[in-house]
């Protein structure tokens, strides 16, 4: 079985690593142990600033530091970064197009035992409505590291979503290419496209095998960047496979599935069925049963894929 690493671990390691290569500073709000910015703090103590439990101020401080020419990363849980500080992100960071990188960890239902107050299922929706914001949701540790470096090299605000739970390493670090805004076809297929992001990419690959057993050929696309979304790749996939299933560890309202549907209803209207949480809050529990309870498994993707295929004209 593949090695398992949480994307937040990869995020912290990447910050520590790239802190030697690029002139970045890091802010956290009393969660450095959890967000893993602690790894950066250990290697670059004079470039790490704890803001205390004051996320709104943290985003504003980062905006000011960026206005004065620095490249600040800010970290907290997705709930408190995208949620609590939404308006600071919109008005202080994004409106002046400042070079702030938001590393939001503990996104989604895979927070597990902490439950609904900490399981942010709305951050992709919130962040992608903000003009000029780049939104990324890496699927594994390799992609997380690449996303961090791409964020540093990109000029402007970036939101990155990382998970708490250890997840399999899907990609080969030795020949991994990453570009903001580019989706990647992980496996070819002709009957249906499964477009997935974040931890659901693994489920999409499993679903593809299950569908193959039933004679259905599924293409799998990994969309790490949710904004700007890869319109061309998704449109071509819709044209060639005739239906699409999206999969995300986020509400089906406003997130990745919505973004895909928005594109396809303009470029190639085909059946688009979304896998995600269904307009509900999460709850406490272990991750695997939570994924089952909230319909975030490979089997859920398989079921929707079969329905999507049946809906084709």
């Amino acid at each position: 079985m593949a090695e398992k690493i949480a994307t937040r671990e990869a995020y912290g390691s990447a910050l520590a690593e790239f802190g030697h290569k690029y002139n970045i500073i890091v802010f956290d709000a009393d969660l450095a142990e959890a967000t893993k910015t602690i790894k950066f703090k250990k290697e670059h103590p004079d470039k790490f600033f704890d803001c205390g439990i004051a996320e709104s101020n943290m985003l504003g401080v980062a905006a000011g530091a960026a206005a004065a020419g620095m490249i600040p990363f800010v970290s907290s849980f997705a709930m408190f970064a995208a949620g609590r500080a939404f308006e600071q992100i919109r008005n202080s960071v994004a409106y002046p197009q400042l070079n702030v990188k938001i590393g939001a960890t503990h996104a989604g239902i895979t927070v597990g035992e902490d439950g609904a107050t900490h399981q942010c299922l709305e951050d992709l929706a919130l962040m992608r409505t903000i003009p000029g914001m780049v939104v990324m949701n890496p699927a594994d540790a390799v992609e997380a590291r690449a996303a961090v470096e791409a964020a540093i090299l990109h000029k402007g605000p970036v939101y990155m979503r990382f998970g708490r739970a250890a997840v399999p390493v899907l990609f080969d670090a030795n020949n991994f290419k990453f570009e903001i805004g580019r989706g990647v076809v992980l496996a070819e297929g002709s009957d249906v496209t499964i477009a997935a992001t974040g931890v659901m990419v693994e489920q999409a690959l499993i679903a593809r095998d299950l569908l193959a057993n039933e004679g259905i050929s599924a293409r799998v696309i990994n969309c790490c960047t949710i904004k700007p979304i890869d319109r061309e790749l998704l449109t071509a996939a819709a044209q060639e496979t005739g239906c699409v299933v999206t999969a995300e560890e986020h509400s089906v309202i406003g997130g990745f599935g919505s973004a895909v549907a928005e594109v396809l209803c303009e470029t190639c209207p085909v059946p688009v069925l979304r896998v995600g949480t269904e307009d509900v809050f999460g709850r406490s529990g272990k991750v695997p049963p939570l994924m089952e309870l909230y319909g975030l498994t490979a089997q859920n993707i398989v079921d929707k894929a079969k329905r999507a295929v049946a809906m084709k004209k």
């Binding site: 206005a67 620095m70 409106y95």
Partner: protein
């Protein structure tokens, strides 16, 4: 300060006030009250205190100013125009569809604006970030910010106050425009934020209380702030909302309302008459 310098600042401030009226009148909207109360302080900052270059607004080593009470940008725009950052004629395009002079400060499009603001409580955090960056980059620039007394009801102001003291941002100097009024009435009646001097002191700031319309006191306060080490400074400036336009003074109703043509003419006449006395 010598009498010539004082008179020059008073004259410039009166011109800034004329600019405020011109902006708000031609926009038929905007916030004259709090612009007039902060006008003397902003005039002092741009004409006696801050190291800035109108022909190079993004100069790396400039002093920075964040108008945390962003709705009072008519005062800031008028001062920037007076200083030569952009043409004074443009003031009458304030808030127009084809103008760069947005209803609230817009860093991306307005020369001399160091930070976008308008959502109260956020500017002071950005000022903290700039001050921190200045220290990290070993720059000697100073960072200035202006807050409203109503604005001090925002929790983020106190998060930022804690941050500034914690990181010993002695290159940061905030002024709080204590005009006593916000939209719904007197600050002490809407949600009493006083005593603000004691609160900021308790948060670890050096506090100086002044009359915000007295240039000698303004100068003394900003000079004192530069001598303070290891702490940020708050200048608590007692002011009159609507200062300089008789019918607007101390009236909450003039917070966010434009004068009509007669009122405008009267305000202009009063300010011109004042300039004549200088």
């Amino acid at each position: 300060m010598d009498s010539v310098a004082r008179r020059e600042l008073q004259k410039t401030a009166a011109n800034v006030r004329l600019g405020i009226l011109e902006e708000v009148f031609n926009a038929s909207s905007g916030h004259p009250g709090g612009s007039l109360s902060i006008a003397d302080i902003i005039t002092y900052l741009y004409f006696a205190e801050m190291n800035v270059r109108p022909d190079e607004p993004d100069w790396d080593d400039r002093d920075r100013f964040v108008l945390s009470k962003g709705h009072t940008c008519p005062a800031l725009y008028a001062a920037l125009a007076e200083k030569g950052f952009f043409p004074k004629e443009d003031l009458k395009t304030f808030r127009h569809i084809d103008s760069y002079l947005q209803g609230h400060p817009d860093k991306k499009h307005i020369p001399g604006i160091d930070m976008s603001s308008g959502s109260l409580g956020q500017g002071i955090s950005a000022a903290c970030g700039m001050a921190l960056a200045g220290k990290l980059q070993n720059k000697s620039y100073r960072v200035y910010t202006a807050l409203g007394d109503g604005e001090s009801q925002e929790g983020q102001v106190w998060e930022a106050a804690m941050f500034a003291a914690h990181y010993k941002l002695d290159n940061l100097c905030a002024v709080l425009d204590f005009n006593g009024l916000q939209i719904d009435g007197a600050v002490t009646e809407v949600m009493n934020p006083t005593p603000l001097d004691d609160k900021f002191r308790a948060f670890g700031w050096h506090v100086i209380v002044i009359d915000g319309h007295d240039f000698d006191q303004i100068e003394a306060a900003y000079n004192e702030a530069k001598t303070v080490k290891g702490q940020p400074t708050l200048i608590l400036a007692k002011t009159v909302k609507g200062k300089g336009v008789s019918y607007m003074e101390n009236k909450a109703g003039w917070h966010g309302k434009a004068p009509n043509a007669d009122e405008y003419a009267q305000g202009v006449a009063e300010l011109n008459a004042y300039i004549e006395t200088l």
